[in-house]
């Protein structure tokens, strides 16, 4: 009877999870998806908890309460910190999988060695390697995103790095094969610890050479790993619900990784082993053109006379927390009958969809957010392209300059607009460390300063001058 309850609950939860993701196809229905997800989760947890083999309840209650105590504050972080929160949750997911795999192995070793069949052992080893490498890899990614002091932001590379990284993984997997073949030998337990250690190490090594611009891809890949480790856990525990939910998570991470890679014109291996983002010390381009600086008043005037303004936000907008000022600018312009659109590059920001969430937070209607592919044909009709803290995603060098790391990356055609206004914090190059040709074009004017402050000034100009018309 209880078995049937558990199985029915699992099927029911599976259906709800699929609906939950299905409803994410439209912002209008998306919140229903959360309700479906929570319901599915609740059903599955209760159905598991009431099973007769669960006889100790105290620790379960304690762990759940602790999960709430940590989880609730984690859900209230500012939206600019969402990438690191996401990385942190991948770390928790990996940790849970790694720990359960470890527990299952030693449980089998101590109580019931016959249960450690080759298939089950393979699943345990896969679960533990994936789980622990996701754990430390995601912790490192979260640390980099949070700009923790002792984790270097810039990619760290050294000669033979890829050989070392792949070597560590190969040794871990090789040792895993040995343990699968001899799960109960006297030394197997120790070998198992070594596998755990190597997976932990590999996670760290994997993220050390990765720079900020690659974070959207890396977070997606880690998302995929976290899902796959849940799948492996499902195999170990003989639980189809876990396999299904893990597969949904894994395929989501996979699709996002592919989209991110395409948006940068790079392959998985290139992201993981390419050490993008090291400052390129290429010889200065033949003629060094000068930027033209624009005043706030001039910028306001230019915007006022436009009929189509396209705003291109980047990570700089997030760093400056400028989204609310951008909203004020949006209001000022739309009030004058000017069409304002936001051009969103898939890898703008530090995780997939980062810009959309920030702009939505500032109450900008999502109908004004336009994807790169849709906005590019419109760019020649655009009067002013306003670049806010974006850099590599608008660099025309990506189209033709083969020696830059961003060569071949699809960009937003800001340079095709009649005029370009670019707000930039400093005169340093962007994350990829490349000079941006957009800034020295004839029709480009620069506004240097903190994005929030600069836009605030422009808004003040527009608000003040509005009465004169």
């Amino acid at each position: 009877m209880m078995y049937a309850v558990a199985q029915f609950a699992a099927v029911f939860a599976t259906a709800l999870f699929i609906f939950s993701l299905y409803w994410m196809n439209d912002p209008k229905t998306a919140r229903r998806g959360v309700v479906a997800g929570v319901t599915g989760m609740l059903v599955a947890v209760v159905a598991t908890w009431v099973q007769p083999q669960i006889i100790h309840h105290g620790w379960i209650v304690v762990a759940i309460v602790a999960g709430f105590i940590v989880g609730v504050p984690l859900s209230q972080v500012p939206l600019t910190a969402v990438p690191q929160r996401t990385a942190l949750s991948h770390a928790f997911g990996g940790l849970a999988a790694g720990l359960v795999g470890t527990a299952e192995y030693f449980l089998g070793l101590g109580e019931n060695p016959a249960e450690l069949t080759a298939f089950r052992m393979s699943a345990i080893v896969a679960e533990v390697i994936l789980g622990f490498l996701t754990f430390t890899g995601s912790l490192m990614a979260a640390g980099k995103l949070q700009e923790v002091k002792w984790i270097p932001q810039r990619p760290v590379t050294y000669p033979g790095q890829n050989v070392v990284n792949i070597g560590v993984l190969v040794v871990a997997v090789g040792l895993g094969v040995v343990v699968v073949l001899h799960p109960t030998a006297p030394w197997s337990g120790h070998a198992f610890y070594v596998i755990v250690g190597l997976a932990v190490l590999f996670g760290v090594l994997l993220i050390i050479p990765i720079g900020g611009a690659d974070m959207p891809t890396v977070i997606s890949i880690l998302n995929s790993y976290a899902g796959l480790s849940a799948v492996a856990m499902g195999f170990v525990l003989n639980n189809k619900l876990l396999v299904t939910a893990g597969a949904l998570d894994g395929s989501s991470g996979l699709i996002l990784s592919i989209i991110m890679c395409r948006a940068m014109n790079r392959s998985f291996t290139n992201v993981l082993f390419g050490a993008f983002g090291t400052v390129q010390k290429t010889a200065a381009i033949g003629e060094q053109k000068e930027w033209k600086q624009e005043t706030v008043e001039g910028a306001a005037q230019l915007l006022e006379q436009a009929s189509l303004v396209v705003i291109i936000p980047g990570y700089g907008m997030a760093v400056a927390q400028a989204q609310h000022k951008v909203r004020e600018l949006y209001d000022q312009l739309t009030k004058r009958g000017i069409t304002v659109k936001f051009a969103i590059h898939p890898v703008a920001g530090r995780m997939p969809g980062h810009m959309n969430v920030l702009l939505a937070e500032a109450n900008i209607p999502y109908t004004a957010l336009v994807e790169m592919d849709e906005i590019n044909p419109e760019m020649p009709q655009c009067d002013v392209a306003l670049v806010i803290g974006a850099n590599d995603v608008v660099n025309p060098a990506a189209r033709y300059k083969k020696d830059t790391p961003i060569y071949g990356m699809p960009i937003i055609d800001a340079d095709k607009a009649r005029a370009v206004l670019a707000i930039k914090r400093s005169k340093n190059p962007g994350f990829a460390g490349i000079d941006n040709e957009l800034y020295v074009l004839d029709n480009t004017w620069m506004l240097f300063g903190d994005a929030k402050a600069v836009i605030g000034e422009v808004v003040k100009q527009l608000a003040g001058g509005g009465g004169l018309h």
């Binding site: 379960i60 209230q76 720990l99 470890t102 893990g246």
Partner: protein, 108 residues
């Protein structure tokens, strides 16, 4: 068929003859469903999508509940409790932040 399945489940201490092929089958099908469904997700919602799938994959909590609550040695159960805590954190923060973000997406 169902009877034999129930028998294996009822006595978990016995070596269980798990049908791994059917698990693999489920995995492959679920991956295809996942690819089909995720491909249709609005591009506006990739950030909430990631926190939602994160919360959903924390269904691993059911595994941790068994490891923590069954009649196992103390050390095993401690490991289980830590895993349970980690999954629970993901469930709570994942669903809450997803909803918080989705609330912000307005048409006008």
């Amino acid at each position: 068929m169902i009877d034999s399945l129930m028998a294996t489940q009822a006595v978990p201490a016995e070596p269980v003859a798990v049908d791994y092929w059917s698990m693999l089958f489920v995995f492959v099908l679920a991956t295809f469903i996942g690819l089909g469904v995720i491909r249709r997700v609005s591009r506006l919602l990739y950030t909430p999508l990631m926190s939602l799938t994160n919360a959903i994959s924390a269904i691993a909590v059911v595994g941790s509940i068994v490891v923590t609550g069954a009649d196992y040695p103390r050390t095993i159960r401690i490991i289980g409790a830590v895993a349970l805590f980690a999954s629970m954190t993901n469930i709570v923060s994942g669903f809450l932040i997803t909803d918080r973000m989705l609330k912000m997406f307005k048409k006008q």
